[in-house]
Symmetry: C2
Subunit: 164 residues, 2 copies
């Protein structure tokens, strides 16, 4: 504890420049890659990134998910998902029905054509990502995975503490 000349507690401004620079670099990487993927999805398949992301969530489950599940997994607001799903239903990629056991719940699934189209997009998408990271060695990839896991845990803890 540090006390000033009139005996009040004082916070010394610490230097957190390294963490700030790390955050900016992380943001730069993500923005860069996101832009690249967005552009390729549009050029090759005329699809937007949010639509692709939502379909990716649905592709992982055969029996569909609720809108809340999608919202939590994508870390976006509920209202956002409502709009995205509306457009994907409109375009025939997604099927939506009310749950039999809980009439609040909407269950959404990929349609047959939606799933087929997504699989084609996903296959190419994976090669783009591989190319984007192609200068990293397998060891780099493992190390990044480990450090980002630690980062994720630290950020979540920080978010939980703020919620109190």
């Amino acid at each position: 504890m540090i006390l000033d000349s009139e005996t009040k507690a004082v916070e010394l401004p610490e230097d957190h420049g390294n963490e700030l620079r790390l955050w900016l670099r992380l943001l730069t990487c993500t923005t860069l890659i996101e832009g690249e993927v967005r552009g390729r999805l549009r050029e090759r398949f005329d699809v937007t990134l949010p639509r692709f992301d939502l379909m990716a969530q649905l592709d992982k489950v055969p029996d569909g998910m609720t809108l809340s599940d999608v919202s939590k997994r994508m870390m976006v607001s509920n209202g956002n998902v409502t709009g995205l799903v509306e457009r994907l239903v409109e375009s025939g990629h997604v099927d939506r029905r009310t749950s039999d056991t809980d009439r609040r719940v909407q269950v959404i699934r990929l349609t047959k054509t939606g799933r087929a189209e997504f699989r084609k997009m996903a296959a190419e998408h994976e090669t783009w990502i591989a190319q984007i990271f192609s200068d990293l060695t397998p060891k780099d990839v493992r190390e990044l995975m480990r450090l980002l896991a630690k980062t994720k845990a630290s950020a979540r803890k920080s978010a939980r503490m703020r919620d109190l």
Copy 2:
């Protein structure tokens, strides 16, 4: 080169699952931190993240920047910056004038109050970031910086190759 039974060239589908998982984890980290920062900026200062980011760019230069410079640095579209600047001029945080030497160019700067407000926000912002990364050791931070620099370079190279 791999040939199939009828002597045509065939691409073997390689496994790029690790790179894909790395990308998703990177995206998760960024989304998580971005949401945390966005919420705090709104609660504490009633300011949006894009406005804060733009002011952060301007704070680094005393004599102002052109809209194109801001656009490149923030990695967002020109039209996006036009709108953001319009609102920041409206709220009195940013000053805008046409360049003396090139009438196409708009030079924008922080106003006195804009700079003062930003400095206050930035000081707290830095402590939030430090808290978010607080479970990382200094070595972790250095390693992440290094690996993300490599990632950034790899992604940029990939983007350049696509532009050809």
